[in-house]
């Protein structure tokens, strides 16, 4: 019984949150990795792209809520999501046309593009704060829990409760669907294949008649979709605040690099590696330990690091990977 209780506590505080957070990071890292593979630079504006997509979705959600459109038990934001993606696509395609294209034609060095993306980051960040303000925004509605801690206790008779929030369920389901669709697109469709070819070898791809502008356009559209979905899911699960999205840049990049920049499978694996380490290292293990080893009564919380240092976790993992396996766990492009 104690073992079951320990497992339930572990699922409640570690496994489920880490899987949800990992899915969000994986979606974010997929966007970063796609841009790196095809456009060949690290996009510093990615966090703010996520914020922008989420912001459009939130505005439309509010409008839908005000006219009484809802999805019943599911959050209205899911209905607004496609519009958010469209808005984000429009912004990214516009940015590509007026900003990035110039440097692509010039064949500028990647680091110049990184600096340019920094400028874009400033503008997007300013734009989001300008429209929605720098504060926390709430836009989740519908049923809060799939299983609440109390129902679970009544159902099973265990003393430990397991809460499974709707936002977590939606995150996991959406992430699985989106990733499956993305891989189907990259592996089976003509456009997806041309994208992979372009990423593998630009010159060969050009020789075989692939239109680079088309590839770039599809990349931005995919990135807009991934970024908006990741942003909305994160916002539903935690909360929407422009600055948090900027800070997500670090774990997202860590995930992409740990998995191997430019490698989509790696980005997903990296997302979960980062999320699990972050949650496990900052979790106070006292409760779980109490069930497993009843004789041991620790003084503190049995927490390896306080949650304020969660960025340090992704950072240390990043350093270890850079030191020992600079190409990432799965073979990425970077050297």
């Amino acid at each position: 019984m104690d073992f079951l209780n320990a497992f339930v506590a572990l699922s409640n505080f570690v496994l489920i949150p880490a899987i949800a957070y990992g899915s969000q990071l994986a979606l974010g890292a997929l966007g970063v990795t796609l841009i790196y593979g095809i456009l060949r630079f690290s996009n510093f504006a990615h966090g703010d792209t996520m914020a922008f997509g989420a912001m459009v979705t939130i505005l439309i959600t509010w409008w839908m809520q005000s006219v009484g459109i809802s999805l019943g038990p599911l959050p209205t934001a899911l209905l607004a999501l496609p519009f958010g993606i469209l808005g984000c696509m429009a912004l990214l395609l516009f940015t590509d046309r007026v900003v990035y294209k110039f440097y692509r034609v010039q064949k500028a060095k990647p680091v110049i593009l990184v600096i340019v993306s920094m400028g874009v980051m400033f503008i997007m960040n300013g734009l989001v704060r300008f429209v929605i303000g720098p504060d926390d925004q709430r836009f989740a509605d519908g049923e809060r829990f799939i299983i609440s801690a109390r129902t679970f206790r009544e159902m099973t008779g265990l003393s430990e409760g397991l809460a499974f929030r709707t936002s977590q369920g939606i995150t996991i389901v959406t992430a699985v669907v989106v990733v499956a669709a993305l891989f189907w697109f990259l592996n089976k469709t003509r456009t997806g294949k041309s994208m992979r070819a372009y990423s593998d070898n630009e010159d060969l791809a050009l020789l075989s008649g692939i239109n680079p502008e088309r590839v770039v356009m599809y990349t931005w559209m995919l990135v807009a979709g991934l970024a908006t979905i990741a942003g909305v899911l994160y916002g539903l699960d935690k909360s929407f605040k422009p600055f948090t999205y900027f800070q997500l840049l670090l774990p997202i990049f860590a995930a992409a690099i740990v998995g191997g920049l430019g490698n989509p499978v790696g980005a997903i694996a990296g997302g979960f590696v980062i999320a699990f380490s972050e949650v496990m290292i900052t979790y106070a293990w006292k409760k779980v330990a109490g069930y497993l080893i009843p004789a041991w009564e620790p003084e503190g919380l049995v927490q390896l690091l306080s949650t304020d240092y969660k960025f340090a976790v992704s950072f240390v993992i990043l350093l270890i990977v850079l030191l020992f396996k600079p190409t990432g766990l799965f073979k990425g492009k970077a050297v």
Binding site: S42, F44, M118, L127, F130, F315, L318, L319
Partner: protein
């Protein structure tokens, strides 16, 4: 138009902008802009050393600046005697233990033959070391933080003059830069960017949460000053008399006097640094740096140790940022970890370097002043713009209120726009590299 004339003209324009502020707003705000402009110029010099000379992409300026601020606290405040008795020694022991664990791990990794035994030894060392460290560290920290938490709760400093903190800030930043440089240099340029971004966030997290060190988000206020206090000046009959003779009222005069004092100190530091980096740029070392930047492969073939040189310049540049950080905390008279924002401290400095002209030290200085001036003035200008735009709208309409409220965020938009425009139409900046 000859080049010297053009550059002097550019500096003159910035000077006139500041003078206009002085005449139209107040001399106080003009001097504030000058002082922060001087500090910004020094930060820009540091980043220019890394990016302009060596092509290294450092986006962790904020972290190094914050370390400088920490140095100001650790050097200048009075030590808290009880705290040292309660747990200061314990904390130091724990930190030394932690460092020893890591050193031992590195030694084992490099000296022992690879194999299962080495992995086991390393794991044992790390895990054992961590728990030992925590078992000494945690109680000491609790003891220190329990002492007079409303006013202290930290170990205090060394009670030395705050000017000593400036070079110490540089040293702290250099130490952090060494750790980062050792791991991330020699890999792709993007990796250094991510690593520096990370270390900056971690340094800020440490400053915010380690209350025993510098009181965390409870802030340290009232740091000692290298210049006299306004109140003392106002009580000094000699000062009041000379102020009245000049026709300024003593209160204004005292605050101007203090700010001018800071300006002189900062100018001295800036001039010394500028002479040094100019000499470095013109020396064989500077030429080697630029050769490495322009063609790493060729430089390596000529026998230059690219990674070591990169490490060197990375440490130097970060040290300058740390120095500037200590100066800034001195100017503020307080350390408030909550106010360190990457957009303000890292990316703004980048805009300064790029707009001024990467690779040119005078460009970096010009960029520092100009962008700081804009950063301060864009907000009132934005508000004025918004008021003009919304003038026709009905009072109390939500759009009008929203637009007026949002004027504050015009800053980021403007800075991003300036950066993109300069990169696109004048990528070498206002004063290009020779």
């Amino acid at each position: 138009m000859n080049e010297t004339l053009k550059n002097t003209g550019l500096f003159a324009i910035v000077g006139v902008l500041i003078l206009i502020t002085g005449f139209s707003q107040s001399w106080n705000s003009a001097l504030l802009i000058v002082n922060m402009g001087l500090i910004s110029a020094i930060m820009a010099l540091g980043v220019n050393l890394q990016w302009g000379f060596a092509g290294l992409f450092n986006v962790g300026v904020m972290g190094f600046v914050a370390l400088g601020g920490l140095a100001a606290v650790l050097v200048s405040t009075a030590p808290v005697g009880e705290a040292w008795q309660a747990g200061g020694v314990g904390i130091l022991t724990a930190l030394v233990m932690g460092a020893a664990t890591i050193t031992a791990t590195v030694l084992v990794y490099s000296k022992m033959p690879a194999g299962r035994l080495r992995t086991v030894v390393i794991l044992a060392l790390l895990i054992g070391g961590f728990f030992l460290y925590r078992s000494i560290f945690d109680p000491s920290v609790a003891a220190v933080e329990a002492i007079n938490p409303a006013q202290a709760g930290n170990i205090g400093g060394l009670n030395l003059p705050i000017l000593v903190a400036w070079p110490v800030g540089g040293l702290l930043a250099a130490g952090a830069a060494w750790v980062i440089g050792k791991t991330a240099l020699g890999l792709r340029s993007d990796y250094l960017a991510i690593a520096t971004l990370g270390i900056a966030e971690i340094i800020i997290a440490i400053l915010k949460n380690e209350d025993w060190l510098a009181r965390g988000v409870k802030n340290v206020i009232g740091l000692p000053r290298p210049v006299p206090y306004e109140v003392d000046l106002q009580n000094d009959p000699g000062f009041v008399e000379s102020a009245t003779n000049l026709g300024i009222d003593p209160v204004t005069a005292s605050s101007l006097y203090v700010k001018l004092g800071y300006s002189l100190l900062f100018t001295a530091v800036l001039v010394i640094l500028l002479v040094m980096v100019q000499m470095a740029l013109k020396s064989p070392w500077g030429r080697m740096m630029r050769a490495i930047r322009d063609n790493e492969v060729a430089a390596e073939a000529m026998g230059k140790d690219v990674t070591a040189r990169h490490l060197q310049v990375f440490i130097l540049g970060s040290a300058i940022c740390g120095l500037a950080g200590a100066m800034m905390t001195t100017l503020d008279g307080q350390l408030t970890p909550g106010t360190y924002q990457p957009l303000r401290f890292t990316f703004l400095v980048w805009v300064m370097v790029i707009v001024g002209g990467s690779g040119n030290n005078f460009g970096a200085v010009l960029g520092g002043f100009l962008i700081w001036f804009l950063w301060v003035q864009v907000e009132p200008i934005g508000l004025f713009l918004m008021e003009t735009i919304t003038a026709g709208m009905a009072d109390g309409s939500w759009l009008k209120e929203h637009l007026l409220d949002s004027a504050a965020h015009m800053r980021l938009l403007t800075m991003g726009l300036i950066l993109l425009l300069v990169l696109r139409f004048s990528p070498r900046g206002l004063i290009p590299e020779k």
